[in-house]
Amino acid sequence: MPSIVKPLVAHPSLARNELGLTIRDYEGSMSTLCAGCGHDSITAAITRALWELSTPPHRLAKLSGIGCSSKTPTYFVSGAHGFNSAHGRMPAIATGANAANRELTYLGVSGDGDSLSIGIGHLCHAIRRNLNMLYVIENNGVYGLTKGQFSASSDVGSKSKKGEANRMSPIDPVQLALSLGATFVARSFSGDKQQLVPILKAGLAHRGFAIVDVISPCVTFNDHEGSTKSYRYTRSKQHVATESDFVPPASEIVAEIVQSGQTHITMHDGSVLRFTRVPEDYDLHSRQAALSYLKEHQGEIVTGVLFADESVPDMHEMNNTPQVPLATLPFAKLCPGSGELAKLMEDFR
C-alpha cells in the first residue's frame, strides 16, 4: 500500500488528550482498503482508543502479519514504529520485541487467515507465555487479500461468493484462547464502535495477553447473502453479552465505581474496566463460564469482554527480567569482563 499522505493540519477545535494531542495525531496514512471494509472501522476504533488513553505515539509498537487486516497499522499512529512482518509470524515477532523492551505498548493486528491458519502455532504459544500485548484479529471469515478463499474461521455452511458452502468446523479464536489460558478474551464487531473502543482500551491496559476477536466484514468477498460474516448477518446475530466502559487510573472515580455496585475489574495499571451489563451468574473470572455461555448462545455472535484475569504473571515475570528494557541495559552490565573470564578458565583445565 503506497502511503498516501494525508494533510495533517488539525482543526483548532479538535479535542486534546492528556498529552495535548488531537485525534489527528493518532492517525496514519490514508487507507487503501476497499471502501466500506470493516477493517477501516477497526482502525478508527484503535485510533480513538489510543488517543483516549493518551498513549505517547512513539511508545507504541504496531505489529502485523500479512493480509488486508495486517496492512492497517499503516493507517493509524504514524508517529509509532510499525512492523508489517510475514504471514502468520507476528505473534512470535512481537514476543521477541517485547522481550527486548517491555516498556512499550504492543498492539498486534492480524487477520483470521494470518492467525488461525499459518500463524496458529505462534498465537497459541504467545497465549501460553501471557505475552503482554493487545492482539486484535480482524475476522472476516475469508482471506481478503488473496481474494476470498475460506479461512479457518468460516462457519459450517457459510457460503462463498461463488455459492460454495464451507464444510469444515471453524476455529473460534475466542474459544481457542479461553481453552489455552488467555488472560483477557473479548469479541466485538467492527460496526459497533461504542462497544469496541472501551474493549480495546481495556485490552491495552491489561497486563498479559489480551485477545480481541473483531468480526469485520469483507465487503468485497464476504458480505453477500449466505455469508455468516456479513454486516447483515453479524448485525442480526450479535448478542451483546457484556457491556463495559473503561475508566483510566484516577483515584477519585474508583469510589464511584465501587459504589455503583456494578461488576468491575481493576487492571494492572490501576485503571478500571467497569461493566454496565453482565449476564446473571456470569463469572468474568471463569473460563468455564465463558465457554458455557458461548455454548448456550450457539448460533449467535456473543460479544463483549468475556473473560479477564489480571493475576497471571506475564512473560517477563515468568522470566524474572528487570523492570528496565533488556535492550537498554548498559554493556557494562552484560559483559562479565576479562577478570571473570580468567577465573572461569580454571574450570576448563
Binding site: M1, P2, S3, P57, H58, R59, A61, L63, P73, T74, S78, G79, A80, H81, G82, F83, N84, S85, A86, R89, A92, I93, A94, T95, G96, A97, N98, A99, A100, N101, L104, G121, H122, C124, H125, H316, N319, N320, T321, P322, Q323, P325, L326, A327, T328, L329, F331, K333, L334, C335, P336, G337, S338, E340, L341, A342, L344, M345, F348, R349
Partner: protein, 609 residues
C-alpha cells in the same frame, strides 16, 4: 616409525546410556592435565540409550589432534559392534575386552594383542546395585587404561576429588573401581604398553572446551540479551551453556533479576521471528540451530535481509539432508545459508575452526549484524561444537566496544528535519536505523514488501531496484569487515590448500607431512563470507588450489567460483562427507593420489575444468 611416547590413538566402543561418557571424559582430562596434547572425538548415536557409541582419543606430542584412522588400542565393550571394532585395530595393536565371558573365537585376529579384563565380574563382586555395577564397569575400564597407558594416578585422583568433592560414597566407589581395573591389568599384563603417556608441558596456557560452550560464552560477552531457540542436536548445548553462564554472570546482584531472556520457542520459525523482533527493538539477539532449523527459517531470513534487521544465527551443522544423521558432522549448510530465502539474497557467514574462534566470533557476529543490519550466521558444526578441543585460554579485551552500527538517538532525531529509513548518507551502503520507543521522528514502517529508499511502500520498478542494488553493495562492503583468512605459506609452494572450520587440524597435519616429504603446499583457511580480498589474492597467487570441505557438493568451491574471480579449473575439490571428523589421511590420500579422489570430486573437476 613414530615415537611411542605420547603418540598414539585409542578408541573406546560402548553402548550409549551406560555412563561411559564420564569415564571417557576422565581419561581425556587426565591426559590433558599431564600436559600432553590430546583430542577426544565422541561418535555417538541419535538415541538416548542402548546404541553403539565410540570415543576416540588421540595424543600427539606435536599437537596434531585430528582423528587418526588406525588405532593402537581398542577398548571393545559393545558386543553389537565388536566385529567391526576388531577390524579397526592396527596390525600389532591391542584390544581390551571384558573377559568375564570367553572371547568368541571367530572374532580373533592373529596380528592383534588381546587384553582380557573381567570387568563385569570384578564389578559384580565389588558393587551391589545393578546401576552402580554398570556405571563402575566404565570406571574400572578407565582404571585399566591408567595402568596400560601410564596415566598419572595423582592427576586422576585429583580429578575425582574435584568432581565428586562432597559426595563421599560416589568418590569412594569411583576410586575403588579405578583401583580394581588398574590392579587387575598390572597383575596380568606388563604395564605400561609400549606406547604410553609421559608427563610433558605442551598444554601450558591451554584449556579443554567444546565449541558450543565457547559460543555461548561469546554470546554472553558480546552482550546478547535475548536468545530464542528450539531444541535440536547438535545446537542444544549452545543454549544450555548460554543459560548457565547467564545464571552465573547476569543475575542482578541486588535484585536477583535476570539481565537476559531465553525463550524456548514453539519452533524454529518462531525462534528466528523472536530474534528479529528483539533485534528490531534494539537488543542483541540470537538463535542457535542446525540445518533443519535453518531450512524452516528461510522465509524470515529473507525478511531480515530485505527489511535490514540484524539477526544472529548459530548454525551448528550436522549431516543432512533432511533429518540426516543428527549426531554426525558435516559442513553442508554453506550454500543454503549464504543465499538463504527466495529472491535475491546474500548473507554474511563467519566460520570458526575451533572453540576459541567460536568465542571470539560470537561478538563479531553481533557487531557485523548491527553494522550491516542484516542476518549473520556463525557456521559451526558438530565436531567443533560438541567435542572437547585443546585451545588457547580464552581472553577478553576490556576495551571492546560493541559496534552497534548506525542507530539514531533521541537527540539526533530531535535535530533531524526528516528521517528516512533507507537513505544512507552520501552514498554509503548502510542507512541509519531508529529504534521503537525513542522518538516519534524516528518512526517508520518496517516491511518485507517493496519499499523505496525513504522507507515508503513502493511498487515502482526503479525505486525497488535502487534499494536492492544498495543491499548488494552492502554485502560487498562487509568483505572488508569480516575476519581475514588465515594464510600460511611454505617456501617453494605453488599450489594451495584451502579449507574451513574444523577441517583445520587435519589439513595442517597433512600439509606438514606433505611438506616434510617434499611436497610443500600453501595453506589458507577461510573464515568468512563474503570473502575477504585476501581470498581472491591467494587464489590468484597459486597455480591451483585444493579445497578441503565436508560436504558432497563442494559448497565452498561453489561459493569461491561464484564470488571471486578465480578460474574454475584452479579449484580442486577434496570432499569428505560421510559424517565423522576429518583425518590427515583423508586429505593426503586425495592430494597424493588423484585417482583415489572421490567420485564426486572427479565430477566436479570435470565440470570446473
Amino acid at each position: 616409525m613414530r615415537s611411542r611416547i605420547n603418540d598414539f590413538a585409542i578408541k573406546l566402543a560402548n553402548v550409549n546410556g551406560t555412563g561411559s561418557a564420564s569415564a571417557n571424559g576422565l581419561i581425556m582430562q587426565a591426559i590433558f592435565r599431564m600436559g600432553v596434547p590430546v583430542s577426544g572425538k565422541n561418535l555417538f548415536p541419535s538415541n538416548i540409550q542402548g546404541l553403539p557409541t565410540w570415543y576416540e582419543i588421540r595424543v600427539n606430542p606435536k599437537g596434531y589432534t585430528a582423528r587418526a584412522l588406525d588405532y593402537d588400542l581398542m577398548i571393545a565393550m559393545n558386543a553389537q559392534t565388536y566385529e567391526r571394532d576388531v577390524q579397526e585395530v592396527r596390525s600389532g595393536g591391542y584390544l581390551l575386552y571384558d573377559s568375564s565371558w570367553p572371547l568368541d573365537a571367530e572374532l580373533h585376529r592373529e596380528d592383534v594383542n588381546f587384553i582380557g579384563v573381567p570387568l563385569a565380574r570384578l564389578c559384580n563382586e565389588h558393587f551391589r546395585e545393578p546401576r552402580e555395577r554398570i556405571l563402575m564397569k566404565n570406571i574400572a575400564t578407565a582404571g585399566a587404561l591408567i595402568a596400560l597407558l601410564n596415566i598419572d594416578g595423582a592427576v586422576v585422583e585429583q580429578l575425582i576429588e574435584e568432581k565428586y568433592g562432597r559426595k563421599k560414597a560416589l568418590r569412594e566407589s569411583n576410586k575403588r573401581a579405578l583401583q580394581l581395573g588398574a590392579d587387575y591389568v598390572r597383575e596380568h599384563f606388563s604395564c605400561p604398553l609400549d606406547f604410553h603417556l609421559e608427563t610433558m608441558d605442551a598444554n601450558g596456557d591451554k584449556i579443554l572446551i567444546d565449541g558450543n560452550t565457547a559460543t555461548a560464552l561469546g554470546c554472553v560477552y558480546g552482550g546478547a540479551t535475548v536468545a530464542a531457540w528450539y531444541p535440536i542436536t547438535p545446537a542444544t548445548s549452545v543454549m544450555d551453556g548460554f543459560k548457565e553462564f547467564c545464571e552465573q554472570y547476569r543475575k542482578d546482584p541486588k535484585t536477583g533479576e535476570n539481565n537476559f531472556a531465553i525463550l524456548q520457542a514453539e519452533d524454529e520459525l518462531a525462534a528466528i521471528a523472536m530474534v528479529i523482533g528483539a533485534s528490531w527493538n534494539g537488543a542483541r539477539a540470537f538463535t542457535s540451530t542446525a540445518g533443519p532449523g535453518v531450512s524452516l527459517m528461510n522465509e524470515l531470513l529473507g525478511l531480515a535481509y530485505y527489511a535490514e534487521i540484524p539477526a544472529v544465527i548459530i548454525d551448528v551443522q550436522r549431516v543432512g539432508p533432511s533429518t540426516g544423521m543428527p549426531t554426525r558432522t558435516q559442513q553442508g549448510d554453506l550454500l543454503e545459508c549464504a543465499y538463504a530465502s527466495h529472491g535475491d539474497t546474500k548473507h554474511i557467514l563467519l566460520i570458526p575452526a575451533n572453540p576459541a574462534e567460536c568465542f571470539h566470533f560470537a561478538p563479531k557476529c553481533f557487531d557485523l549484524a548491527e553494522r550491516f543490519q542484516t542476518p549473520v550466521f556463525m557456521m559451526s558444526d558438530l565436531d567443533i561444537g560438541m567435542n572437547d578441543w585443546v585451545t588457547p585460554k580464552l581472553t577478553w579485551d576490556d576495551g571492546y566496544v560493541p559496534d552497534r552500527g548506525k542507530v539514531l538517538t533521541a537527540e539526533q532525531l530531535e535535530s533531524t528535519s526528516k528521517y528516512f529509513r533507507y537513505l544512507p548518507e552520501n552514498g554509503t551502503a548502510v542507512a541509519a536505523r531508529t529504534l521503537p520507543g525513542v522518538h516519534s521522528k524516528g518512526a517508520f514502517f518496517t516491511r518485507g514488501s517493496g519499499h523505496n529508499k525513504f522507507g515508503g511502500y513502493t511498487e515502482v520498478p526503479d525505486e525497488y531496484q535502487e534499494v536492492m542494488d544498495r543491499l548488494l553493495r552492502k554485502h560487498k562492503e562487509a568483505a572488508g569487515w569480516v575476519p581475514e583468512p588465515i594464510i600460511e605459506e611454505r617456501a617453494g609452494a605453488r599450489v594451495g590448500v584451502i579449507t574451513i572450520g574444523g577441517c583445520d587440524p587435519a589439513v595442517r597435519e597433512a600439509l606438514d607431512i606433505l611438506g616434510d616429504t617434499g611436497r610443500p603446499l600453501d595453506y589458507m583457511r577461510i573464515r568468512a563470507f563474503p570473502f575477504h580480498a585476501k581470498v581472491a589474492e591467494f587464489l590468484a597467487d597459486h597455480d591451483y588450489c585444493y579445497v578441503v570441505e565436508q560436504n558432497r557438493d563442494g559448497q565452498l568451491c561453489s561459493l569461491l567460483i561464484l564470488e571471486t574471480p578465480v578460474a574454475k579449473e584452479k579449484i580442486r575439490p577434496v570432499l569428505i562427507y560421510s559424517g565423522f571428523p576429518l583425518s590427515a589421511k583423508h586429505v593426503i590420500d586425495v592430494i597424493t593420489a588423484p585417482d583415489v579422489i572421490t567420485g564426486k570430486a572427479q565430477e566436479l573437476n570435470a565440470v570446473y575444468s
